[in-house]
Symmetry: C2
């Protein structure tokens, strides 16, 4: 069986205590450098693969400190504090001597508790099988690595016709299909275009500077989701003085909120 391209893209080799070596993958290239979602996934993967890791991810913050060049990188992940059921991590991605990405993560052993979800899954959307797949023609390579079916907020043309809001709702899964896991969920959490593109319908210089992903799914929920489409929603909040923030939700097709995220993006406009 062939290795899935996502597994190739997040492949890490041990490179000493707390250190892992990897390389960017052409299949997940962005306009410049790699797709940020794969960087997000790689920062998490270094902890997931760490021999001292305790439990599953609860929160992951990734700071895109500088451009990631195509080619090799090293990730250092080290526990900053280990408690009885929670563990905190420092994570750094370097290329040569340059720090290109920094982050922290919180892992925990979960147990059952009173549960409820205040947001409701968007209702009334067509099923993915009844929707056309978005074309990845003319888009960066990574877009073809996802099967995306937009209910709202697809940007098909950068025609400068300003849009009233920045809401996107889409069904998405890996292409080829791949069972959902924490790493692919971390990548999918960053699949949404920068909201300034959705609002302004113009390609302007942008770059995420910091993103936090909150994991609500445990391994059982991920297993239940398998390789079916998840529903993603994203919207922008405040666009001001060169930075805006956007929030996202990733829902299972059975209506469970798998992850939420919040990121702040640099823009020039």
């Amino acid at each position: 069986m062939e290795t899935h391209p996502f597994d190739e893209a997040i492949r890490l080799s041990p490179a000493g205590e707390h250190r892992f070596a990897g390389a960017t993958h052409p299949g997940y290239a962005n306009m410049v450098g790699p797709f940020g979602g794969v960087t997000n996934a790689l920062m998490l993967e270094a902890v997931l693969r760490h021999p001292r890791r305790l439990g599953d991810p609860v929160a992951l913050t990734v700071n895109f400190a500088g451009p990631v060049a195509d080619g090799a990188f090293e990730i250092e992940a080290s526990p900053s504090r280990t408690n009885r059921s929670t563990q905190h991590w420092w994570i750094t991605m370097r290329q040569g001597d340059a720090v290109v990405t920094t982050g922290t993560a919180v892992f925990a052993e979960r147990r059952s508790a009173w549960s409820t979800c205040e947001p409701v899954m968007p209702a009334g959307l067509p099923r993915p099988s009844d929707m056309p797949r978005a074309s990845a023609a003319g888009r960066p390579a990574w877009c073809a690595r996802y099967d995306m079916r937009f209910a709202d907020g697809a940007v098909t043309e950068f025609d400068g016709r300003e849009h009233v809001d920045s809401l996107t709702r889409l069904w998405i899964r890996d292409d080829p299909p791949r069972p959902l896991d924490f790493a692919s969920l971390a990548a999918i959490a960053d699949n949404f275009l920068p909201r300034i593109f959705v609002r302004r319908r113009r390609l302007v210089p942008v770059g995420t500077v910091s993103m936090t992903t909150y994991f609500h799914a445990d391994a059982a929920l991920l297993d239940a989701q398998a390789d079916r489409y998840v529903l993603g929603t994203a919207r922008g909040l405040n666009f001001r003085s060169g930075y805006f923030d956007q929030i996202a939700e990733i829902w299972s097709d059975s209506g469970e909120l798998l992850a939420t995220s919040h990121q702040v993006v640099y823009y020039r406009e």
Copy 2:
């Protein structure tokens, strides 16, 4: 003129390269240890006071890795990467040899750009002068350090009568009044009770494990706000398997979104 208690609480003394010494303040004590908002502010303050700091805060992630004991602490803040107009930071709070809090921050020099805000400030709320101040009787010390006037989601009794949602909207300012700055905004962003208290109306074991604050205000907006009340809103998202997340917005009284935040909280219930 007396020093404001908040300024006493966030006072840091240089203690070597990248290091600052401080101590918890009894006026901002929580049920156990210090109010997390002051810890959030202190982590930011270490960067704000750092001689190599560039620009103003854009994002601050603080991980509450272990309990902060009453008493002395040291904060280390060091730049992880400095670019032309952005700068990334590592931040660590220690007590003795123990890491108690970790974090990262992104600072930037802002400049004018196309701007819009998608969320709208809640309308139709009474003005703070027409609302009663919430009592801090029986509450942890820090609650008396804020003048809070609740439009929604006040928790006056822990009577176990479950509430339909976890929305809170309140006017808040320091007591005594103090001109808003980045540090006090970071503290106010964490003034909201854990949402499980609002939903369940029961005191259950809780603790924020990670919180990210996104700063939209620049110095001019903060100066314009001065010491008047800001409007805070908070609501919970997914409560599941011992962790829930909650989001918050802090608005100026003139309708500018000053900050947003997202945090994940441990709970046992």
